[in-house]
Amino acid sequence: MILHELARRMDLERLVDSQDATHEIETGYVGDLLSHVLASAKSNSLWITIQRHENVVAVAQVAGLGCIVFAEGMRPEAPVIERARNAGIALYVSPASAFELAGRLHKLLHTEAP
């Protein structure tokens, strides 16, 4: 599903837009330990995390994750947003928990996809 469509239907607040209007999300990944995300996340996942350290952007780049969603209102600081903008990583935030966000994503990708 296209990221913009997903974000709208998951009710996410956008912090940094994707540079690709047709940015496609294939699956999701939930994780806060950056080393584990690096080792395990599949590319083109929507990454849901409460980790706000600046390294999230580098990890997303290397793991091929084009979009990070910060759960539980974990709003990243300005340098993280700036870095994501430069790296072309989309950022969203939501007050919902990672459990709730993963549930919404799973429903959209697996029960409503054509």
Partner: protein, 240 residues
């Protein structure tokens, strides 16, 4: 007895997050300019720069401890200090295979270069250094001690990579005499002693936070004795 103005948490240009300006000479010059007379370089999961910086420190008459900043499986950062280069290098050699085979991507994380005294690049470290060793927090402390080192949990008050944020509390079986924290220690950790350091990634940050250690000589045993306040010794934090 002497009071040392110590900054024991400094990254060199080898740490991907460390500025390429963090050459041995630049580190020592900044330490001198800022009145730091005891320093340790603590790169992420590597000791490949400790010897060259120790030579620069010795030439300038500064005291030096050999160090690293290890990252545990739970993403807790633990500083490790050694009296002897050989112990530090042996520990580094032992942990290297426990670092995942994930290559560094300089555009994302930064460059990882080993340099000579004057800053000439000698080699590039291929594995990503800011990654977790396949060791738990308690295994990491034990590993450091096995090589004769002193483990000091790093920036325990920070939201990322500190033991309290990552594990929720200080595990009961992992007592440490000395911990690094920018803030006063919580009441539950009152038996521990706090030190603070700059965690410098740029030359101008060296000494921005430091600890005054009053002790007999420079050694990890003396650091611990200062932490315990033994016989007139002390460890006092100074943050700018």
């Amino acid at each position: 007895m002497r009071t040392f103005s110590a900054d024991l948490h400094i990254h060199t240009c080898l740490s991907p997050c460390g500025s390429l300006r963090m050459s041995p000479r630049a580190i020592i010059q900044s330490a001198i300019d800022r009145g730091v007379d005891l320093l340790a370089v603590t790169d992420h999961n590597t000791a490949a720069m400790v010897e060259v910086v120790s030579h620069a420190a010795a030439a300038a008459g500064l005291d030096f401890l050999y160090g690293m900043e290890l990252q545990t499986r739970e993403e807790v950062h633990v500083l490790a200090y050694f009296d002897r280069a050989t112990d530090c290098l042996s520990c580094a050699e032992a942990i290297y295979p426990l670092l995942p085979d994930v290559p560094n991507v300089p555009d994302a994380f930064g460059d990882q270069v080993v340099v000579s005294l004057d800053g000439t690049i000698l080699r590039t470290e291929p594995k990503l250094l800011v990654n977790s060793l396949d060791l738990s927090f308690s295994e990491t402390l034990a590993c450091i001690r096995r090589f004769g080192g002193l483990p000091v949990p790093a920036h325990i008050d920070r939201a990322a990579y500190g033991v309290l944020a990552q594990l929720g509390m200080f595990p009961e079986d992992t007592a440490c005499q000395l911990v690094e924290s920018d803030a006063d220690l919580p009441p539950t950790l009152r038996e521990m002693t706090r030190m603070c350091s700059s965690d410098a990634h740029y030359p101008e940050d060296i000494g921005a936070a430091r600890t005054h250690f009053r002790m007999e000589s420079v050694s990890i045993v003396e650091l611990e004795r200062a932490a315990r306040g033994e016989a007139g010794r002390f460890a006092r934090c100074q943050c700018e």
